[in-house]
């Protein structure tokens, strides 16, 4: 019974973090078929943002979260203007943007490493925005308050994003663009503005996801890589561009990872996810929640 609770608790936590990262990726893919390979470095930047905010400037910690979201958003917008903006007309944009943002992400990462070597001495830092190991018991399993916060923040952010998409004019413009870019443009939607906002929103979510990730493991320069790939696995499992699907898939993948971690060993988690995805895709090529046939090249 105990290990069952353990799996649920840690699966929900993983799921919440992957959901924040994956919903953003799905949103951007839905809007303009872009996969941002610099998503991982934005998570890392989010985690370091808090560190710089608190340790270097000594600003109050509780404001750090929203500002990390904002900072992530700004980085996302910058990424749009130095990469995607110039490539929208290329004939295989989907492929070239992956390579371009991969290069950009690696450059940012190397730049960050260089900068950090001058700012901080040792690489791993504890995330200041963390409640530490204080916990309460469910059955015999300790559940830290940190997890509660992560769940609350993740649910709140996803509800906010859902409200933004369904209740505001901009949200409607985003959904219209995702459904049919040309029709949206004909109806007067400024699609390029939609692209910037969507990428900024996704990057803001990634920044917050980065803080959450680093509150369990320390803040290190390469921390964003593996979670980004897991988020990719999530959106492949869900079917690219499917946001609600991404939410469920994130929880599923989180549970799989937690189950493998609890029952076998941590290091097989990634392999287990991969196997799940491959089987799921062979069964349903357009993803678990995909309605259409395979996306055309």
């Amino acid at each position: 019974m105990n290990f069952f609770i353990q799996i649920i608790v840690s699966g929900l936590t993983f799921g919440a973090m992957y959901a924040l990262a994956a919903v953003g990726l799905a949103l951007v893919w839905g809007a303009f078929n872009m996969l941002n390979m610099a998503h991982g470095i934005i998570m890392t930047l989010g985690a370091y943002f808090v560190l710089v905010w608190a340790e270097l400037f000594g600003l109050p910690l509780w404001f750090a979260g929203p500002f990390a979201f904002l900072a992530g958003g700004i980085v996302g917008a910058i990424i749009y203007f130095i990469s995607a903006h110039w490539m929208l007309t290329q004939k295989n944009f989907e492929v070239t943007i992956i390579i371009a943002t991969f290069g950009l992400g690696m450059a940012l990462e190397a730049g960050l490493m260089k900068l950090l070597r001058e700012l901080f001495q040792a690489a791993p830092y504890a995330q200041p925005l963390s409640l530490g190991a204080d916990s309460f018991l469910v059955g015999d399993v300790p559940v830290s308050y940190q997890r509660l916060i992560i769940w609350a923040v993740a649910v709140a952010l996803i509800v906010l994003v859902a409200l933004f998409l369904t209740r505001t004019t901009m949200g409607r413009a985003i959904r219209a663009t995702a459904q049919n870019r040309d029709a949206a443009r004909l109806m007067g939607v400024k699609v390029k503005r939609v692209y910037v906002i969507v990428l900024a929103l996704a990057s803001g979510l990634a920044g917050v996801a980065g803080i959450m990730l680093s509150s369990f493991k320390d803040v290190v320069p390469l921390m964003g890589q593996t979670p980004m790939l897991k988020a990719f696995i999530v959106i492949v499992l869900a079917g690219l561009g499917n946001m609600t699907g991404a939410l469920y898939a994130a929880l599923l993948i989180g549970m799989v990872e937690a189950a493998v971690k609890v029952l076998v060993a941590d290091k097989w988690g990634f392999l287990a996810m991969l196997v799940v995805v491959v089987i799921a895709i062979i069964w349903r090529p357009a993803g678990l929640f995909g309605k259409h046939q395979i996306a055309r090249q």
């Binding site: 996969l35 130095i82 990469s83 110039w86 490539m87 290329q90 989907e94 492929v95 070239t96 943007i97 992956i98 390579i99 371009a100 943002t101 991969f102 290069g103 950009l104 992400g105 690696m106 450059a107 940012l108 990462e109 190397a110 730049g111 260089k114 890589q225 593996t226 790939l229 990719f232 696995i233 959106i235 492949v236 690219l240 941590d266 290091k267 990634f270 392999l271 996810m273 991969l274 995805v277 491959v278 895709i281 062979i282 090529p285 395979i294 996306a295 055309r296 090249q297």
Partner: protein, 352 residues
Amino acid sequence: MKTRDYILFAILLAVAAAFPFMGVPRYIIASALLLFCYATVVSQWNLVFGVAGIFSLAQLAIFAFGAYTSALMGRYLDWSLWPTFPVAGAAGVVFSIFIGLACLRMRGIYVALLTLAISQTMFVLIQTDSDCSALNKVINPATCVSFTGGAQGLGDFGTFGWREVLGGRNWMMGDYYTMLGLLIVALVFTAAMTQSRIGLAFKALRDNEELATSRGVSVFKYQLIVFAASAFLTSMAGAFYAAHFGSVGSNLVGFALLLFLISMLVVGGIGRLWGPLLGAGLLMVADEFFKEFSDLRNIGLGVVVLLFMIFLPEGVAGAIESVCKRLQRIPLVQRIEQQLAERLRRRSAAPD
């Protein structure tokens, strides 16, 4: 392929063969042979990505798979490395066919994401492999390492063995010509493959899958063929890499090397005949020049990849091609070309 491609190939071959005797320092020879190794991998990758149009990022995983196969056999079975090379190649083919099967029903971006995840899985499994392996206890009980060597990497499995044959001063020459041989095989193989009926099928599937399948070209068959065909030499290159350095590590599947190879592919020109060689050459030369700024290396590479994707997605080879085409539109150049062709025809028509 035209006559000028054959001539260019012959010239390059002569230069590469004579290169070690031109009095260049040893470290240049060492980077040249590394260039050959990477160019081999990139040329095979170009076959998958450029010619067949499958955006696979698993090429490095196959490369590392070959390197580790060779290294593990050398270490635990006590084989000399030479007989492990074909085994490594074959193992790479099997591995690659599995990858091909896993992404058989996927298209485009899905393949990229899945193959990237496969590489990362390999990276994670090697990195986290830290339990002392029973096999290593036999070899060296004092410093027991894990089966794959884990994050520290694995050594002590032998080399090409040129040191014993050629002596301590000239062994690098042996490695150099071995690697050059591999590259020549790879270039001839890719060129022949691209020209063949199979290559035509790859291109047909890349350019218009619906039409190609309706004409009887099987996706299943050709996707597996391209994954298998490109894997053998990639995996061999990995094994050669291991044999040259005498050590392997998880960095073989790391993002940094992926970035380096992707920039070779992008700078050279994806899908172009001369792309891989051109890209590998340019990048290695640039790397040599900017050695002092090695901490800025990844920043530079990343920015180069970004700029090429924005402004020159066809790569240098593509740019040269379009410049040539534009030149051919100039009347004077056209006239000279016609006269040359005329003269050639007359000479070949004339009786001996």
